[in-house]
Structure formats: structure tokens, C-alpha cells
């Protein structure tokens, strides 16, 4: 039942902070080549779920598996090597590095350019370095940020800083991406670029994406599968269309958003 391409599997996770129960018995799969959206009101535990997967929080109950192997005891700094990358709800960047450096720093398995290479004429920029720069530039171009590639990330507007952190997660090459509200706070005209990027990663690179998102239009556009987290558990799970049209989901969650 478990295989190499199983993706991420959460089994019967529970979480509480002190006496406050966040959720009980949450199970879901984030398979490769699909976007799995996790929606629900604030406080339902969506970000908590990401933090558990990444090893930032330890769940008192339940397990997390990646391609059939337990992920539970992996420390946060080894998650990327295991193949799990994430973004954060708030902006987390390297402010004094340029936008392109923020992306470059995440590209894994680099020999890197050694100091001695700088003193050999004609070899000052290694082929690998050039490839990585091209890759980082191409990623920036997908969200129309190639013109600000060399500006310090800390000087960019909030929306572009969020995009930089999204691109950084993508650049890690992680097979599973956990995107926490990546579209929130981003200029509305850039959102289609984010959705196109995520679709491409899923379709062409067969990455698995867990999308935590409040923007239901984004979910509707790119999610294959939707899980609704509310009131301490999963109230609906299934293909995007059927979940978003589910009466209970509309009544208990979506109705509130649309009526707000």
C-alpha cells in the first residue's frame, strides 16, 4: 500500500495546545502531481498541520509518512533534504540578499563557486553557477520579477517579498511543497502567475502541493482535491468541485466567507 511515489500521508493526527484542542483524528494525502487544498476558518489548525509535517511541532497522536517512510523524527533543517519544502504565512526572507540571491541560496546540491575559480580567467563563473542563475532568473520571470532580481529583497513591496519566499521554496526542488497562504497580500494581478506556476510544478514536475489558502477562487482554479478543516476535524474531503459545492461546507464555512 505504500510506495515510492506515495507522496505525503498524514494519519490520525491530533493536536492540542495545553487544554485547547486544535483538531482530532486528521488524515489526508498529498500525492505527487496534484494540488491538495486545505481550507477552513482561522484557528482550524491549517498552519499547525504544516508545522507538524515540518517537525516544528510534535503531534501527541498520529504519524506523518513520506513515500511510505515515517517523517516524524526528521528535524526541521533536514526537511528540505528529505523532499519537503514550505512557505510561511508571514514574509520570511533574507532581507539584505537580492531577490535572485534569495532564490539561489535554496538551490540544492551545489558544489558552489570556489574562491580559487575567481582567479582563473574564463572560468570565473562555473557552468553550474550559470545554470543556477538561469534557473533562478526563469523562476523570477514566471512571476514578472526578473526586473527586480538584483534589488535587496528587504526593499521590495510586501507582495513581491511573498513571491520571493514562494520561489525560494520552489527552488529547493522539494517534491512536496507546503504553501501557507501564498496568495495572501500579493497584488491581485500577480495571482494568476502564482496559480500558473503551481499548476506547472504539478503538471510538469509532478510535485505534490498542499495549499493552505483563504482565497477560494485560487482553490477553485488549481486544487484537485480539497480538505475542509473545521471545528476540530475534517468535515469534508474529496474532489474540488464536489467539496466546494457540498452543502455542509457552504453552510458552515464558505457561506460565512461569501456573506462576510
Amino acid at each position: 500500500m505504500t510506495s515510492k511515489s506515495d507522496g505525503l500521508r498524514l494519519e490520525n493526527l491530533a493536536m492540542h495546545f495545553g487544554g485547547v484542542h486544535v483538531f482530532e483524528d486528521v488524515s489526508m494525502r498529498i500525492p505527487p502531481g496534484q494540488v491538495t487544498a486545505c481550507i477552513g476558518p482561522n484557528g482550524a489548525g491549517k498552519t499547525t498541520l504544516i508545522n507538524i509535517i515540518c517537525g516544528v511541532l510534535a503531534a501527541p497522536k498520529g504519524r506523518v509518512f513520506l513515500d511510505g517512510e515515517p517523517l516524524d523524527s526528521t528535524p526541521p533543517h533536514q526537511m528540505v533534504q528529505r523532499g519537503v519544502g514550505r512557505t510561511f504565512q508571514d514574509v520570511r526572507i533574507f532581507p539584505s540578499l537580492t531577490a535572485i540571491e534569495n532564490v539561489l541560496i535554496a538551490i540544492p546540491d551545489q558544489q558552489g563557486e570556489r574562491l580559487r575559480h575567481l582567479f582563473r580567467p574564463g572560468r570565473s563563473v562555473g557552468a553550474e553557477e550559470r545554470r543556477n542563475r538561469d534557473k533562478a532568473n526563469a523562476l523570477l520571470a514566471t512571476v514578472a520579477m526578473d526586473d527586480v532580481a538584483d534589488r535587496p529583497a528587504g526593499e521590495l513591496p510586501f507582495g513581491q517579498q511573498k513571491l520571493v519566499s514562494l520561489l525560494r521554496a520552489v527552488a529547493t526542488g522539494a517534491r512536496i511543497l507546503l504553501l501557507d497562504e501564498s496568495a495572501a497580500g500579493v497584488e491581485i494581478e500577480l495571482i494568476p502567475r502564482i496559480t500558473a506556476l503551481v499548476r506547472r510544478l504539478v503538471a510538469e514536475e509532478s510535485r505534490g502541493v498542499l495549499l493552505v489558502e483563504h482565497n477560494i477562487d485560487v482553490v477553485r482554479e488549481i486544487a484537485d482535491h480539497v480538505v475542509v478543516l473545521q471545528g476540530g476535524g475534517v468535515i469534508a474531503s474529496g474532489p474540488c468541485d464536489s467539496v466546494l459545492n457540498d452543502e455542509r461546507v457552504i453552510k458552515e464555512y464558505l457561506g460565512r466567507i461569501y456573506n462576510a
Binding site: 533543517h77 526572507i93 541560496i105 563557486e113 529547493t172
Partner: protein, 285 residues
């Protein structure tokens, strides 16, 4: 009567020593948030190893220097592995590590005191050469030190801004928590930082042993001035902060030492306190 220009020349010579120690301290503090008081121990270790290899052992000056710098680099790395890393793994914060570092520095100082009986040990056996430019006499050693500083800072600049490892070091300086999240091999970069910073302190230690000689408290005295230089310059700006802080203090200590020798320490720390009051993050922080 020594001219004001002559004192300035001495100031630049002193600045060279501070700059070599300060930049390593800044590198370690900015990236790993370790207040590495034992950086002075590393400096001292190199100086004493150089003294024994060159003066006692009779090895040639270059081999002695290179070996001493290697010993310094390994000493710095060993202090991190044996003390800081275990303290931090057990949840020790900035303050615990600071106290541990102070402990290491005092232990080594005591050991050096036992072995040297506190006598100043000068590795050099010949007089130092001098070149005169008009009324100002420059010591050849000072010119050599300044050359070393220029080469070291130039290479560090290239390393930080044009190499992968340098990018990681700048990333660590910016946001340490995030560096791990993006999958950076923080442990490996940490080793490189300790080796490099300690080697630079080692170069300063070797030159000091050759120049003025060492006493067991020379390490901590040099380190304190280097730390003030880093705080003056601003910790976040590793290269510019260290060099500007070091040159300012080199000149200040030279003039203070010339006009009011007993007020050198006072002037260094008074300058630091005034600057912290005006600019808490240092000149370039």
C-alpha cells in the same frame, strides 16, 4: 619629539592587528550569534605555538607561521565542537555560550600563565627594519601587516559576494532560522566560519608574537579592543564595520598611548559607550 604623523603611522599598524582579530569575531557573531570571547585564546595559541616552533624549536619563520595559523584554526574549531555546540544543543542561549566562552578564555589564560610564568615572550631575534618617508618612519612589519589586511579583506569580500559559501554566510547573517528551512547545511558552513575566523586571529597572533611579544593576557586585551571595534563599526556589516572600527581604534589608541598612556583603556571604552549611546547599532549596523 615624535610628530603627529608618526603617531598616525603607529595607529595604522595597531589597526592591522585589530582588523584581523575583529573581522573573525564579527563573522562568528553576525552569523552564529556566538560572543566568542575565546577568540582571544585562539590568537594567543597561535602566538605561543609560533614562539615555540620558531624561537625554541628553530624552525624557519614561514613554516612556523603557517603551522601556527593551522593550529589556531583547529583550536577555534575545537572550541566550537567541544564547548559551544554541546551548550547550544542543550538549549543554551547567547548568555550561556558567552559564559562558556569566557570560561574557556580564562582557563587557557591560566594555563599559559603557568607555562610562561607571565614573562613576555618575543619570538623575534633580530631588529625590525624601518623605511623613512620624509619625517615619518614606517616599520616594515607594519607595512607587511597592512598588506596582509588589504589582501585578507579583499579575499573575504570576493568570498562573501561571489561564492556559494559566501552567499550562505550572508544568508546566515540575515536570517539564521530561515537558513535551515531552505535546506542550507548550516553545520558545514559553521565549520568553515570557525576555521576561517580562527586562522585570521592566528595570523594576528603570530605577527604579535614576532612584533611586540606575548604575555598571557595579550589575547584578551587584543580581543576586547577588537570587540569594541566590531561594536563601533556595526556587527551586521562584517567587513566595513570591522575595518572602520579597527582603524578608528588603532588611531585612537596610538594617540592616547602617546599623549596619555595611562588613559588608553579609558579612551577606548569611553568612545564605545558614547557611540553606543548615539548609534546603538554601530556606525554601519
Amino acid at each position: 619629539m615624535m610628530s603627529a604623523l608618526q603617531v598616525l603611522a603607529i595607529g595604522f599598524g595597531l589597526a592591522g592587528y585589530y582588523a584581523l582579530v575583529a573581522v573573525g569575531f564579527a563573522l562568528i557573531f553576525a552569523t552564529l550569534r556566538i560572543f566568542h570571547i575565546a577568540h582571544g585564546t585562539v590568537f594567543l595559541m597561535a602566538g605561543y605555538v609560533f614562539f615555540f616552533l620558531y624561537r625554541v624549536g628553530g624552525l624557519d619563520v614561514v613554516s612556523s607561521g603557517v603551522l601556527s595559523v593551522i593550529v589556531a584554526a583547529l583550536t577555534g574549531l575545537a572550541i566550537d565542537k567541544a564547548v559551544y555546540l554541546p551548550v547550544m544543543r542543550r538549549g543554551g542561549g547567547l548568555f550561556s555560550v558567552f559564559i562558556a566562552s569566557l570560561g574557556v578564555a580564562l582557563i587557557f589564560e591560566a594555563v599559559f600563565l603557568v607555562f610562561t610564568k607571565g614573562i613576555v615572550t618575543v619570538a623575534r631575534t633580530t631588529a625590525l627594519g624601518i623605511v623613512s618617508v620624509g619625517p615619518v618612519a614606517f616599520r616594515l612589519l607594519d607595512i607587511f601587516i597592512l598588506g596582509v589586511v588589504i589582501v585578507v579583506y579583499g579575499l573575504l569580500y570576493l568570498w562573501l559576494h561571489c561564492t556559494r559559501r559566501g552567499l550562505e554566510v550572508r544568508g546566515l547573517t540575515d536570517n539564521r532560522a530561515l537558513a535551515a528551512v531552505v535546506g542550507m547545511n548550516v553545520d558545514q558552513t559553521r565549520n568553515v566560519i570557525f576555521l576561517l575566523a580562527s586562522a585570521l586571529a592566528g595570523i594576528a597572533g603570530v605577527l604579535t608574537a614576532y612584533d611586540t611579544g606575548l604575555a598571557p593576557d595579550t589575547g584578551s586585551r587584543t580581543l576586547f579592543i577588537a570587540v569594541v571595534a566590531v561594536i563601533l563599526g556595526g556587527v551586521q556589516n562584517i567587513l566595513l564595520g570591522s575595518i572602520v572600527g579597527s582603524v578608528s581604534l588603532g588611531i585612537l589608541t596610538a594617540y592616547a598611548g602617546f599623549f596619555f598612556p595611562e588613559w588608553v583603556t579609558f579612551s577606548v571604552f569611553a568612545m564605545m559607550i558614547i557611540l553606543i549611546l548615539i548609534r546603538p547599532r554601530g556606525l554601519f549596523g
